[in-house]
Each structure stands twice: as C-alpha cells, then as structure tokens.
Amino acid sequence: MLSENRPPVYPPAVSLDLASSPRRAASPATLRRRHLRLLLGLLTATSAEAEPTNNLPALTLLIMGAPEARPTLQALSQEQRSGLPVALRLAEFPTARVDSEDEREPLELERRLQEARRHYIDAEFSTCLQALGHEGVLLQTLSQGHRQLVARLLLWRVACQVGMGRAEVAHQVAAELGVLGLEIPADIGVLPPEVGRVMVKGAEAGAARARTMLRVSSDFAPARVSLDGRFDVCIAPCSLQALEGQHVVRIDAEGRQPAVQLIAARGSALEVAFTTLPATPELAARQWTSHYGGSSASLDSAGSLRLLSSALRAPRLALLTAEAEQDGYRLRGSLAIEGRVVARTERRARPEALRGTADGALRDLLIQGRVMEPAPALYERRDFWIAVGVAAAVAGATTAALLWKQPVRTEVGF
C-alpha cells in the first residue's frame, strides 16, 4: 500500500557456524578460515551499526484533489530539503472491496436448504436437520441481515421435526419465527398442510409473547444497533422492545470490529452491554471504502482520518487536499495522531507557489500537532543575543574610539 518501503536498519545477520562438525578436530586451515569469517562477520556487523539510521518519526502523507497539483504535493515526500523533522511516506487511499464473504454466505445457506429439501423428499428427516446446520449458522446468518433465509431455515427445521413426529419441538421452532418477527416464507406452499399448520400456530404463539425492554450499551460510541437482522434500529446507548425469547443483537462502529450477542429476552427489562475490539487494518480499510471511499466530500472528516490511520497503519497521518480555484488552489490539510485529528489548516496558493505553500501548511500541521516545536521567538534565540552583544561591543568600541582622547603630558620649561 505504501509507495515507499523504508530500508531495514538492522545489521545483516552474522552466521558464525561454530557448531559444524563437532565430532572432528578442525584442521589449522579450517580454523583460519573460521577466524577470518568471524572477523569479517564482526566487521560487517560493526559497519552496519555505524551507519546513520533515520530516527525521524514517520509521517504518512495522503494527497488528493486537483490532478495537476498532485505531482507537486507528492514531491514533498521525495525531497528532504524542507527541513521537516519527519520522514515523509507517501501513501495511496485504501481500495479494499467489500468482503465477498457476505455474498458467499447466502449461497452456502441456499445449498444447505436444497440439500435439506432433498433429504426431506427422501424422508431422511434426521439428515435433513443435519443439513440445515446448528444454531450458530442461524445466529451468523441473522446477524448478517439475511432474514428471509433465516425464515426459510426455520421453516425447513419445522418440516423436518414434523417429519420426525416431534410436534412439540416443531412448534417451538415455529414460535421462533414469530419471536424474530419473520414472515412465513413462500416455501410453505411446497410442504404438507400439516407443516403449514404447525408453522402458523407456532409463529402466532411466538408473536403473542410478552415484550422485554432491551437496554443496549457499548464501550464505544457512536455504535449502530441491529436487532434480529434489522440494521440500524438505534444508536447505542438505546432501548428496544423485543418479544420474550432468543434474539440476535449486533453493534457496528467505525474503527471497531462488529460484536454480536445471542440473548434470551425474559422479564420486563434486560441489559445488553457490548465490548468491542479495534478493527484490523483490513477491516478499517473496508469500512473506509464503504463509508467514505465513494465521495471526496468527507474524506478529511474525523471518522475518515481515524479509519485511514488504522487502515494504513499510520500513527501519524497527514492529508493534503488541493482544490482548484479560479486563480490557484485552496490547500486544506489535516493531521491525525493515533487516529485522532489534532490539527487542521487551510491556505490559498498560487500555482507557482503551491510547493512552498504546501510545505508551510505541513509545517503548520506538525507544529499544531506538537510533532515539532515552533521556531523560538527572536529574543529566545542564542544567536540573536550574540548578535546584540557583538553589535553593542562594536557600538561601544566605536563610541570609545570617537570619544577617546590621547593622554597629554605637558613639559614646562624656560
């Protein structure tokens, strides 16, 4: 992703090979060779360590805006004569596409459903249930929002249970449909009427259950709350009403990994607290692509920069935008440290002065962000006082020379 890879600062590994041929005494020539290799190895290691290493903090730089201005801005990272106390690294915006796992999941479930249907037709009801998978499949599918698939999954479970003659269990499974607020799928038309009856009665019983107040909270805000595959029903912390029974609650937040809980709603109220984990760089890249990648309007927003910092593994990230205007460019800059925006700046630049203006903007960001110290005031500079002292000495010497009178000695005589 990064356009420039920093050279390794470690010295090359030194292989001493002292353990070879332990059973045999080494000849004098072999010993000399070993000593020579040892000496060469030590010299190599020493010289490598003596090489100056770049200890400047790294600053990842993102450039966007008018295409004709980008080369000028990108040159910032290639020229170190600006004197900025950072090692600039030019980076590209993440281009991660939305993970195809979400697309593969429905196909896999569809395959399971078809397999279960085949076993049902063959009256292999136990195998039918096995083909539909365990509770985890239902949880994951629902958390991903595939409510219709989950409804079909429950329907075929009911069918298999009825086929096995387990009417009570079938009723309970059908009740889940009502609890989750799912519609009876069209597949019911191909199943025997008995299955249909159990399905309808169970769903009605589930929908008639008492309601429980869910109080959802998260350690990270803002976080979007999803309930049973219905996305963004509220922003945590918030309260939801749900029928008594099992539900799937999920929260999503920028820069955090999604968190899913299977809860059993019961009683008048239930606390549902989430603890989230930081998003991996890959997830952050997907989130950034999904939320901000489609438009340049909010690329420099706090959320965008936080995701970019994570996605690009950039503890210090600067974003420079040059927007073309009638007589030049409007240069905007943002600096994020550890994902948090700490400085912003905006300047106008004539085309011929874009390089210098960008350099100044970057310096401004680094000073605001306390990455570098501002230049000390004139009176705080040692050189200033030295100059003042020298000037005072020169002025004093000049004055003394002008005012100095040669001592006079007068001899008196006849």
């Binding site: 010497a397 100095w404 040669q406 001592p407 006079v408 000695r409 007068t410 001899e411 008196v412 005589g413 006849f414």
Partner: protein, 209 residues
C-alpha cells in the same frame, strides 16, 4: 587583543612643550625691579661686598587654585581668600639663578640686565609633567639657597620675606590645554612694590596690607 590595543593606545602619551616667558622685552620682570620704601632695589640688598652677581635662587611653584579666578592680582587675592590656594610640593623646582647688581641703574637698563641674566635659564626644564588642573605658575627669586627651599615630606619650606628679591606669576591656566607660551609677569603700577613681592611669594597668596 582588545586589551593589548587599549594598553598600546593609552601608553602613547602626547608630549607637549610649554615655555615660560617674561615677555619679549622682559616686560614681565617688574616684580624683579621693585624698590624698598627707601628707593633701593630689592636686588641691591644682597650685592656682594666686592661686587658681582647677586647669588640668588629662582623657585618655580605651581599654585593650586581649586577653580578658575580672574587674572588680575586683586581677583586672585580675593579668590584665594575664600579658597584653598596652596603650592603643590611635588612640583616645586629651584634653580640657581644669579641676578645682576642693578644698584643705581635706571629701570630700563636694570630690566635689560635682569632679562639677560635669566636668559641663562633657557632650556631648563621646570616640570616633566605639568599638573592636570588649574594653577598659576609662580617664579620667586630669593637669596635663600635651593637646599633650603626644596620640598620634603610633602611640605614646602616658607621663603623668608627678608630674602625675597623678585617675583612673577602667570594667569590661571590648565597647562595641558594651553596653546603658546605661558607669560609670567607682575601686576603693579609703581616701582615701590616690595610689599607686592611678599604677597606674591607667600604660600597662599594672602593679601597683606
């Protein structure tokens, strides 16, 4: 380096020469031609019995004034009545200066002879470093020897009035700044000026009636 340059600069003193003079025609010698009340020259009081020059000494004093009074004798005396006018002991110089016997000579001839006698002092150094303050230079002729009159222990011996034979003084001057010669003279309108010589030669220029 700077200190060295400063030392070199301060080490280079400008040496100026100031000449004492009684005037081109000896017009400043009136104090050497004063007569006693009996009409005799003061110089005639010590003429050797066999004749010849009067064995006298010329004492050069620098008198500190503590300020800058006027030049006339009355102004000087009035100034010194209120100020500490005193001889600078370290600057007293005494030169043997035999003066001629001018007994019976008319005043112009007497002046000429005294002038000729004092011409022998030409080139004599009175001070190698003049005081850096306002002073008057006073030349007093006395019959006392220089040994008697040399300053010692920071004090100057008082000259005996009966031994005085002449006196002249300058205007108040700062010798380091003066341009030209320093004129020595005696401010009197009459030849009967023995009393003026005594005032001139007194240690503190005090008027005495």
């Amino acid at each position: 380096m700077g200190v060295l340059v400063l030392a070199l600069l301060t080490g280079c003193n400008e040496v100026r020469q100031v000449r004492l003079t009684f005037g081109e025609e000896g017009e400043g010698l009136d104090g050497f031609l004063c007569r006693e009340d009996d009409g005799a020259y003061l110089l005639s009081r010590a003429v050797p019995s066999g004749g010849g020059p009067v064995p006298s000494s010329l004492v050069i004093d620098f008198v500190r004034l503590g300020g800058l009074p006027g030049c006339r004798s009355g102004q000087l005396i009035q100034w010194c009545a209120d100020h500490d006018c005193s001889v600078l002991p370290e600057h007293r110089v005494c030169l043997p200066a035999p003066l001629p016997d001018i007994t019976g000579l008319p005043r112009p001839e007497a002046r000429q002879q005294v002038r000729e006698a004092l011409r022998s002092l030409a080139g004599a150094t009175v001070a190698s470093e003049a005081p850096d303050e306002f002073i008057i230079v006073r030349a007093t002729a006395t019959l006392q020897t220089c040994d008697e009159l040399q300053a010692s222990g920071g004090a100057v011996p008082t000259m005996t009035e009966e031994e005085l034979v002449g006196c002249a003084y300058s205007c108040p001057a700062l010798l380091d700044a003066i341009e030209g010669d320093v004129y020595l003279g005696f401010d009197t309108l009459t030849e009967q000026c023995a009393q003026g010589v005594r005032v001139c030669a007194s240690g503190n220029l005090r008027w005495r009636p």
